[in-house]
């Protein structure tokens, strides 16, 4: 704030300073010309009063730059600027008054020599004139600036009229020869009346001191001091020029207009200083309250800034607690946070109370059978306890006692995110104003908490997604990269998870007699849990296959390993086929898995030997129900293993593809004599036509063998 306002002020400052110096230079130059002119007049023995045209022209020319400058004065918005302006004015007035009072006293001793045409009068008049002219810009400009402050509501015209009128009085006064000539004396009364009117205008303007209200407390105290200095200074100024002898005599003889102008200015200065003095004194009792209001506003502004900065909820809550404490002027504050059913009490970074004390305070009664914590969550408004029952001490300062408290709901719409509590060390500590403020703060805090929670959850989700992608990559690596090559058959296999990872897989194993086994499996459930079990089953099957001579033995042993070892709800299905190359034969077992689709001599059929799913039944029951089916094939025949994701593919209307349509697609493609990869394309073409491009809801695995 401080830096901003200084920068704004700095831009026009150079011009201001230059134009003020210019004004003073012009005035000083004019004074020099006047002095020389009068000197020559003395030498040539002409009467010094005989310079009518010059008396008219001189003040106009002298004051012209000053008037131009005055018109250019910008309206001020910042009360800090006005404060500084008045401080400068007070010092300028004091300086001018002090400087003028000295010659006045000195000259008073020689009053008998101050004759109208005397040489002393002549020089004294010039000196006083110079001092006054040099001081004018320092006295008039600040005055106008003070009057033109926006907070005072003063229009831009009135202060200008005031100053312009002052100058008019001064100029007219130049025209009036006050000594000699009756007409001159006749002008004195209207001039005096005009001067009084201008002074009255000054008085009206002086009452516009609204800017004082917004000053800080210590600035108001200082302002009282400056106003006293300015009053003293302007009194000295008036005393100097209104004094019956000395300066006024000198000025009267030389520049009566300036005298008139100066006395008007002096009066205006006195009015202004007095009014500012009084206003500052009157503003002092409310200074603390105004300061508090300004603190409150800045707290809310701080909090708004915090909103955009804090991502961590706990950090945010702790900061909110300290801001609430400062803004409300509470001895302690804490926040009860709710997230689902979880309730957490946070006491802030430097807690003054213990958790136990906080709980004790939260059970303070606010009505019959209603404690403050319940009341806030039920009525959803700020609740106040004006006088805390029992003695509640702070933790740090055992002598301190908490005597009143308030609580506000942290809510967003219908959601209650928590409660803000504040406590003070005096009874009835919460007036209507604090209640409004607590409410406003609570709303801000609620908004900030919600925002930080949203950001947090998006972080968590992002990290989770990253990890799932890694899991997917790992799972893909668990699948065999290359299918065995054989002169008897060709193979194609793939597995597509429905979500990022899945529970389906296929594998190629080697039995103890080095025959190759193909297997397709489906683990119950979907997603991450299914993927974990899939990895485990793959490990078990790979470890067991080398010890087993047949697929039946392999599945029986796998069931022993799996049954009862995992969650009762969990099971897996698997088809396993042992390839007997030279006989073009498959030995197939099915542990609860989908049937195998075979196409022999162009005729499709499902092979579904008996068999229970893995981990469903005790080994004895499993083994006795596991049938092995041996099928012989001819070149060009197909055996297709798949998971239920394929027949259960759904149309947008919710219909399932079913086994019959699947077989239809396969046999149609088989008639074309397609290779396994082309068979896969044919199958998915059919599925996509059926689902109209919708992704499959379940994992889908496909393993296609074609005999050569």
């Amino acid at each position: 704030m401080q830096n901003d306002s200084e920068q704004i002020e700095r831009a026009p400052r150079r011009w201001t300073r230059f134009s003020r110096l210019l004004t003073q230079a012009v005035l000083a130059g004019l004074w020099l010309v006047l002095l020389l002119y009068d000197l020559f007049a003395q030498v040539w023995d002409r009467p010094p009063g005989d310079q009518g045209w010059f008396r008219l022209l001189a003040p106009i020319v002298a004051l012209l730059p000053a008037i131009i400058r005055l018109l250019a004065i910008e309206q001020v918005e910042n009360e800090q600027v006005v404060y500084k302006t008045f401080r400068n004015l007070a010092l300028a007035v004091l300086a001018t008054g002090s400087v003028l009072i000295v010659p006045t006293f000195v000259l008073t001793g020689y009053s008998d020599q101050l004759v109208p045409d005397g040489i002393l009068t002549f020089f004294a008049g010039r000196l006083v004139c110079l001092i006054m002219l040099m001081a004018l810009p320092w006295l008039v400009e600040p005055l106008v600036q003070i009057f033109r402050h926006r907070a005072t509501g003063a229009g831009s015209r009135l202060p200008r009229i005031f100053v312009a009128a002052m100058y008019v009085v001064a100029v007219i006064a130049q025209l009036v020869p006050l000594q000699g000539g009756e007409g001159g004396l006749a002008m004195e009364e209207p001039l005096f009346a005009m001067g009084s009117l201008v002074a009255l205008l000054g008085l009206i303007l002086a009452t516009r001191a609204g800017w004082i209200i917004n000053l800080r407390r210590e600035q108001k105290w200082k302002l009282v001091g400056y106003a006293m200095l300015a009053t003293a200074g302007s009194s000295m100024l008036l005393a100097a020029i209104e004094h019956t002898g000395g300066t006024s005599a000198a000025l009267l003889s030389f520049a009566p207009g300036l005298l008139n102008f100066s006395s008007t200015l002096g009066l205006a200065l006195i009015f202004t200083s007095t009014v500012i003095f009084a206003s500052a004194i009157l503003a002092l009792p409310t200074a603390s309250a105004i300061d508090r209001r300004n603190t409150e506003v800045s707290s809310l502004a701080n909090f708004a800034r915090l909103l955009t900065q804090s991502l961590d909820t706990e950090h945010l809550v702790d900061t909110a607690i300290s801001i609430a404490c400062d803004a409300i002027g509470a001895r302690t504050a804490w926040i009860e946070l709710r997230e689902g059913d979880a309730i957490q009490i946070r006491l802030g970074r430097e807690p003054r109370i213990t958790l136990r004390v906080a709980r004790q305070l939260m059970t303070q009664s606010v009505g019959k059978d209603l404690v403050i914590a319940q009341a806030v969550s039920q009525r959803r408004r700020v609740e106040v306890v004006d006088r805390i029952r029992g003695i509640v001490l702070y933790k740090a300062e055992t002598s301190g006692e908490l005597k009143s408290m308030a609580a506000a709901p942290l809510q967003l719409g219908e959601d209650l995110l928590g409660t803000l509590y504040v406590a003070k060390d005096r009874v009835n500590g919460f007036d209507r104003r604090s209640v409004v403020l607590i409410n406003a703060l609570a709303d801000q805090i609620a908004l900030a908490i919600e925002q930080s929670r949203l950001i947090q959850s998006s972080f968590v989700r992002e990290r989770f997604e990253q990890e799932m992608l890694i899991a997917r990559d790992l799972q893909e690596r668990l699948l065999p990269k290359q299918m065995p090559l054989s002169p008897f058959y060709e193979l194609y296999a793939e597995s597509l998870p429905a979500s990022i990872v899945g529970g389906d897989y296929f594998d190629v194993v080697a039995f103890s007699d080095n025959t190759i086994g193909l297997l397709v499996a489906d683990v119950s459930g979907k997603g991450a849990s299914a993927a974990l079990y899939m990895g485990m089953i793959k490990g078990i099957v790979q470890a067991l296959s080398g010890q087993c001579a047949s697929p039946k033995e392999l599945l029986a042993k796998a069931n022993v390993a799996l049954h009862g070892s995992i969650d009762q709800r969990w099971f897996a299905t698997m088809s396993c086929a042992q390839i007997i190359d030279e006989h073009r034969t498959l030995r197939v077992v099915r542990a609860g898995h989908c049937p195998t689709l075979v196409v022999r001599s162009g005729v499709g059929a499902y092979s579904q030997p008996r068999g229970l799913g893995l981990a469903i039944a005790r080994p004895a029951l499993f083994d006795s129900n596991l049938e092995i089916e041996e099928m012989a094939f001819c070149p060009g025949d197909y055996a297709i293993f798949f998971s239920d994701g394929l027949p259960e593919a759904r149309s947008p209307e919710g219909e399932e593809l079913g086994y019959d349509l699947l077989m239809e697609a396969v046999t149609a493609a088989a008639h074309q004599g397609v290779n396994p990869k082309e068979m896969r394309e044919a199958i998915f073409e059919r599925i996509n036509a059926f689902t109209q491009g919708e992704p499959l809801a379940d994992d889908s695995t496909l393993m296609i063998l074609r005999w050569r």
């Binding site: 119950s524 459930g525 969650d567 969990w570 099971f571 898995h593 579904q608 799913g613 469903i616 129900n625």
Partner: protein
């Protein structure tokens, strides 16, 4: 997609759970809760009526496996009744007919409980 609903009714000597709609990973916990509360009430004669069930996933099948042992150890049983051919096919593929009694009529299941009780 028809929504999953579940209701439990008394049909002495058993309790019947009626299922409708889709029983999958999302809805299976409801069925689990129903079984658990029957077990808490010491009700071990349970018939599950599948008449209006359109679909069952592996997660739905797992629920039966989770409770059958406890029920049977308390000399009760979970009997399944009135499955559509499609739902039956899912149970059949897995070999569930070897493990559970499956009836085409709820009445028959109830009668079986009555006979068991009288024995």
């Amino acid at each position: 997609m028809s929504q999953f609903t579940l209701s439990v009714r008394e049909s002495p000597p058993a309790r019947v759970i009626d299922l409708t709609g889709y029983l999958d990973a999302h809805t299976a916990p409801q069925l689990e809760e129903a079984f658990q509360s029957l077990l808490n009430e010491q009700q071990f004669n349970i018939i599950v009526n599948f008449r209006d069930l359109a679909y069952i996933s592996s997660a739905g099948l797992g629920v039966f496996m989770a409770f059958v042992e406890e029920v049977r150890s308390n000399s009760g049983d979970i009997k399944l009744a009135e499955m559509s051919p499609k739902v039956y096919n899912v149970f059949d593929l897995l070999g569930f007919p070897m493990l559970y009694e499956i009836y085409d009529d709820e009445q028959k299941a109830r009668a079986k409980f009555s006979n068991e009780g009288s024995c």
